[in-house]
């Protein structure tokens, strides 16, 4: 990679210092085009307009301003419609914006927080992320061409999930004997792409050979915690039995490592399905 970077820079710098005669640009490229702050401001205003329409649930207004050739057009629209029906009182707060602009293109990087209430229980929810909004200048103004990174508009269009498992170290002496439980283990999965689903699953496996599937229940749209609490984590003097619904630790063979794994089907940022893992050490 580093060699490639050096090569790329060297090639370009060599090209830039070539003889002027070589620099014969087509006629329509002769006038340099530069974006100014007014362009950036207009692009940001167009993005804010889309955000206000999204908060108001006016998906038709957003659709009218999308290019039909946008890759993932229908996934984007269906996700927004699903959000409008499932998430009420949506408020999208953009902050820490950074703008890169070129001729007829503006790229707005920003962090966001999306607050909402679930439609069924009216439970409040909060999603966070960071996006790059690609804005293209069209004849009738700036248009949203794409959203990369975490997509704040559309469930299922890709936001990186977060998996939290606490604590990361458990003394073996604190484990109850099987079939006991361990109330101190906190597990939370937040995946905005699953907003509306009642449950999600994660996989847990241990260095001693145990393997279990934990079902998590939605507390609010996209936020999941273990259905069974306290988590059935216990110790015994035998090797663990996979898939028996209990996370067993052979306390004669510690230290052991528990690994919790969740596959985010669409983590955004052009990333293919990603594996999220958290580890807990038992000693």
């Amino acid at each position: 990679m580093r060699n490639a970077l050096v090569l790329a820079c060297a090639l370009l710098l060599a090209g830039l210092t070539a003889t002027p005669a070589a620099a014969q640009a087509p006629a329509d490229e002769q006038k340099p085009q530069l974006a100014g702050f007014e362009d950036m401001k207009a692009a940001r205003a167009a993005l804010d307009e889309i955000i206000r329409a999204y908060e108001a649930g006016d998906i038709g207004a957003i659709q009218a301003r999308l290019d039909p050739a946008m890759i993932g057009f229908q996934r984007f629209l269906d996700g927004m419609r699903r959000d409008t029906a499932n998430l009420k009182q949506t408020r999208l707060h953009l902050f820490e914006a950074n703008v890169s602009a070129g001729p007829d293109v503006a790229m707005i990087q920003a962090a966001w927080e999306k607050r909402f209430f679930g439609v069924a229980s009216f439970t409040p929810g909060l999603f966070t992320g960071r996006s790059t909004f690609l804005m293209h200048r069209a004849k009738d103004g700036w248009r949203l061409a794409a959203v990369s990174g975490d997509n704040p508009f559309s469930s299922e269009s890709g936001v990186l999930a977060t998996l939290t498992v606490m604590p990361s170290l458990i003394p073996v002496a604190s484990l109850a004997l099987c079939p006991g439980t361990f109330p101190g283990l906190g597990i939370e999965l937040v995946d905005p792409d699953l907003a509306g689903l009642a449950s999600a699953t994660i996989e847990v496996f241990s260095s001693q050979g145990d393997r279990e599937v934990l079902t998590l229940t939605a507390l609010s749209p996209g936020r999941f915690r273990p259905t069974t609490f306290p988590v059935p984590l216990c110790g015994e003097a035998l090797p663990p039995t996979p898939r028996n619904g209990k996370i067993e630790i052979n306390f004669l063979a510690v230290p052991a490592t528990l690994t919790f794994r969740y596959i985010d089907a669409n983590p955004g940022a052009n990333r293919p399905p990603a594996t999220l893992m958290r580890s807990v050490t038992i000693r």
Partner: protein, 586 residues
């Protein structure tokens, strides 16, 4: 400020790309007093510039031909405000306290006799308000410098790489260089993809891996109508760039090569690009994948047709924000001005989402010692159609009618199905002194994987606006007043038999008098109940007054507040802000 109005020629110029320049501009922009003094004359400004940069000042020599022009535009705003807020972080982004916010921007440009333009753009926000900047108290909003001229462009800092849909299309902190060799354009970029300049400098502010990236593109025309191009790009995430346990992700890398063409002849056009990529996660098996997009069409005087097909593999790894992976879709779109009073836009498409949510229950785990369960792809297929009609009436100028209807049906590989249907109508009437509109929308959502949220929504919207001013046919207005009242009434019926409602009213009044300034006021409220039967009560207000101070300055006073669900302690939140803003632009 337009130094170029002096028609000056630059004889000596400090190093444009020197490291002192950003700090020099920052120092200049950071002093409101300095900015005010900057209006005095060119010599003062350039002396300040030289003092801040530590180099010799650019000398301005009057040129008879007006060849070289230096322009410096910028501005600063300073806000002081107090806010009271309650509700907690889950309900509101705001916290109470006394805050300030300073925004500065500077756009410095020099145009050489041959037309080459050099520039340096910088914008910064400094604030102690955590809702504006979560970590730290300053944020570089834009930092860019470069030079562009006949057949070349070089840019440093924040660069917008816009090579192709499947190749590279993203912001980069680094270098962009483009040059024509004959008719062939070569473009190259290299740098780091980071969340911000602050995250690039400080590991404590990173929430994602730093991504080292490069991108190359060569494009050449073949005849008058065809352009062909090829791109190569790659990236590698730096696994050590974030603290231990900050991310549950594995760092990845990707390399992509694409080739494409743009063709246009008469009324026909075609754009196509294909790409191959290799993606890998540290410690895991790599994946090769491919992508293809084809978009074409025909544009007549009254009819426009567009057809396209996109097929991007699940593991297609590019540097383009446009290239959403795991998509296969085909579409046809038509816009038709059927008569002078009616236009139609229709769209049909079939799409396949290979990155849909996983099925419930999950795939069966494998037996140890296999380290992890293999990922089972979950695919959603959707067919959709949309139609929009717009009518105008020659007999009733100002009257317009819009109708929309759309539907999509989806099926998933896990046996699930979903359906979205929506219809809408809007009637609007616009006169010089007033306008009115009435709209209705209906949508139905069904999803077998989330049946608890299946619902049907009906929304009515109405608005009435009135304008007053002293404008005449020959004289512009010296004052104006605008008032708009709007309301929306929404009912959502959930499949489980419950109903939620929300009725909203909003009044906006705006006035402006050239000698005084401008004033706007917003007052609104909503009433309803959620699906559990709990009452929903909100109200909000905003008062904003501003006036110019001299030719370039301004002052603004604002007061705004929102109060939500105060009779329900579990979800109650409110905020109230009062502040003053001073601004200066040059």
């Amino acid at each position: 400020m337009n130094l170029g109005s002096r028609k000056a020629r630059v004889v000596a110029w400090p190093a444009w790309c020197g490291p002192a320049l950003p700090f020099a501009l920052l120092a200049l922009a950071g002093s409101p007093a300095g900015a005010a003094e900057g209006l005095q004359d060119n010599a003062t400004v350039l002396a300040q510039f030289a003092q801040a940069s530590g180099g010799p000042a650019p000398q301005l020599v009057a040129g008879e031909d007006g060849a070289t022009k230096i322009e410096w535009h910028g501005g600063a705003t300073v806000d002081f405000y107090s806010r009271s807020a309650s509700g907690g972080a889950t309900l509101t982004p705001y916290s109470g306290g006394h805050y300030h916010r300073i925004g500065m921007q500077s756009d410095l440009r020099g145009t050489a006799p041959e037309g080459d333009v050099s520039w340096m753009q910088f914008a910064l926000t400094q604030s102690d308000d955590p809702s504006a900047i979560l970590l730290g108290n300053s944020q570089i909003n834009t930092l860019s410098a470069g030079r562009a001229g006949l057949g070349y462009r070089v840019a440093f800092g924040d660069v917008a790489v816009n090579h192709s849909s499947l190749g590279a299309n993203m912001p980069l902190r680094g270098l962009l260089a483009q040059r024509y060799f004959g008719q062939t354009l070569v473009s190259a970029s290299a740098g780091v993809i980071a969340e911000s300049w602050e995250a690039l400098a400080d590991q404590g502010r990173r929430r994602m891996f730093l991504k080292n990236a490069y991108a190359l593109k060569a494009e050449t025309p073949f005849g008058q109508n065809l352009q062909a191009y090829a791109t190569v790009q790659g990236y590698r995430e730096d696994g050590d760039s974030v603290g231990a346990n900050a991310l549950a992700l594995v760092p990845s890398s990707g390399n992509t090569a694409t080739a494409g063409l743009n063709w246009r002849e008469g009324r026909y056009f075609l754009q196509a690009e294909g790409g191959l990529s290799r993606y890998g996660e540290k410690g895991l098996d790599g994946h090769r994948d491919r992508a293809l997009i084809v978009d074409g069409g025909w544009q007549g005087d009254k009819l426009g047709l567009r057809l396209g097909h996109h097929d991007l593999g699940r593991y297609y790894a590019s540097l383009s924000g446009l290239a959403g992976a795991g998509i296969r879709e085909s579409y046809a779109n038509a816009s038709w001005q059927t008569t002078s009073w009616m236009s139609l836009t229709g769209d049909v498409r079939r799409s396949e989402n290979q990155m849909a949510a996983p099925p419930i229950p999950p795939p069966t785990p494998t037996i140890p010692p296999t380290p992890v369960t293999p990922y089972t792809p979950f695919v959603g297929k959707t067919e959709a159609a949309n139609l929009r009609a717009q009518f105008t009436f020659a007999d009733v100028p100002g009257l317009g009618l819009g109708l929309t209807v759309g539907e999509s049906h989806g099926k998933s590989s896990g046996g699930g199905s979903n359906r979205n249907a929506n219809q809408g109508a809007s009637l609007s009437y616009m006169r010089p002194a007033w306008n009115a509109s009435l709209g209705y929308q209906n949508s139905t959502l069904k999803n077998s994987l989330a049946a608890g949220s299946d619902s049907r929504s009906d929304t009515w919207m109405a608005s009435y606006g009135r304008n007053w001013s002293d404008a005449t046919d020959i004289a512009p207005a010296s004052w104006m007043l605008n008032a708009t009242a709007s309301g929306s009434f929404q009912r959502q019926h959930l499949e489980n038999g419950t109903t939620s409602t929300l009725n909203t009213l909003n009044l906006v009044v705006m006035g402006e008098r050239s000698a005084w300034g401008r004033l706007s006021a917003i007052l609104g409220g909503s009433r309803g109940h959620d699906a559990t039967g709990g009452a929903l009560r909100q109200h909000w207000y905003q008062l904003d007054a501003g006036r110019a101070l001299g030719q370039r300055g301004g002052i603004r006073l604002y007061l705004r507040g929102m109060s939500s669900f105060q009779d329900r302690s579990a979800i109650a939140y409110r905020d109230k802000t009062a502040g003053v803003q001073l601004s200066y632009a040059f």
